[in-house]
């Protein structure tokens, strides 16, 4: 199977957006407003935090915010020198700063980030652990959710298989589970029985 035809290619996986129950999007925004637009999306690896943060950008822009997006990860655990001070000079109440990967910051760096973004109208972060900001939503996954995603992605090939233990083996990390299915469909990993 060519990479471009693999139903679990990255672009196809990324087209699957965060699944909120009917009517919950409005409630989520109302809750964010109640938290004065300083809140955290919390959840373990591969639970959809980044996806949800990205999905919230458009409604936040519609609310009148200028959204600035920052990202940290295990490979990039610090902001570039001067980044926060330059950002701080531009912020006002119309700005909302999204930080994906806030758990990468140590205690001191987190306090500096909060200080630098104090003038922003809002700050929305993702984090593996609660406590940095009030929790807006806790992202969770389930075998049923994984199965629904697999069926949506694999339908065009007519070959739908969600290994029974796939969810458990990856400890609920949907991203890693889907990456394994990429390898299975590519023929670079034998399917597990």
């Amino acid at each position: 199977m060519r990479a471009r035809d693999n139903p679990f290619a990255a672009d196809r996986v990324e087209s699957i957006r965060y699944e909120l129950p009917e009517g919950h999007a409005g409630r989520l925004l109302a809750r964010l407003e109640g938290l004065r637009y300083r809140a955290a999306i919390v959840g373990p690896h591969g639970s959809g935090k980044t996806t949800l943060l990205e999905d919230l950008e458009r409604p936040l822009v519609r609310l009148g915010f200028r959204v600035t997006y920052l990202r940290l990860d295990a490979a990039h655990r610090r902001f570039d020198p001067g980044c926060l001070s330059r950002l701080a000079a531009t912020l006002d109440a119309q700005d909302l700063v999204c930080l994906d990967g806030a758990e990468q910051l140590g205690r001191a760096a987190w306090l500096v980030f909060r200080w630098r973004t104090r003038r922003a109208g809002g700050v929305l972060i993702t984090s593996h652990r609660p406590g940095l900001f009030p929790t807006l939503i806790e992202c969770t996954t389930s075998p049923e959710l994984l199965d629904r995603i697999v069926r949506r992605l694999a339908t065009p090939t007519g070959d739908v298989r969600t290994p029974a233990d796939l969810f458990a083996r990856h400890h609920g990390n949907l991203r890693e589970a889907l990456r394994e299915l990429y390898d299975v469909y590519a023929g670079t990993l034998p399917p597990r029985t």
Partner: protein, 123 residues
């Protein structure tokens, strides 16, 4: 009503590295404010998409409905390629604003005129 079209000279869809690509684009977009055609490659596969923008032709003073011609010269690399982990895909894209109307036409770039396919690739 919006209608974007890309026609390549002689109906070709396969080219050799270094060859020129000529064609014609047309659009019908109310209040068109900008129009340009881009030559680029992008990846598909296990990793995050990568994009290489090779060249752009911007059309000044676009009308709501019109045709324009363009010409690019392909670089020597990369070739159109598919393995198990990554595909490299070449394309020509017409973008007309407002509304970010887009029309994309895939092409093949390789010495043989066909995508290079690697069947055996380790994980």
């Amino acid at each position: 009503m919006t209608g974007l079209h890309i026609e390549l000279a002689d109906g070709r869809t396969a080219f050799k590295p270094g060859e020129p690509i000529a064609g014609r684009v047309s659009w019908d977009v109310n209040g068109a404010t900008s129009a340009e055609v881009r030559l680029f490659w992008y990846t598909r596969g296990k990793g995050t998409e990568d994009v290489g923008l090779v060249d752009t032709v911007a059309f000044p003073n676009p009308q709501a409905a019109e045709q324009r011609t363009f010409q690019f010269t392909l670089p020597e690399a990369p070739f159109s390629f598919s393995g198990k982990l990554i595909s490299i895909i070449w394309a020509i894209e017409l973008i007309v604003e407002p509304g970010s109307s887009v029309e994309r036409r895939e092409i093949v770039v390789s010495p043989t005129g066909r995508e290079v396919v690697v069947a055996h690739e380790g994980a």
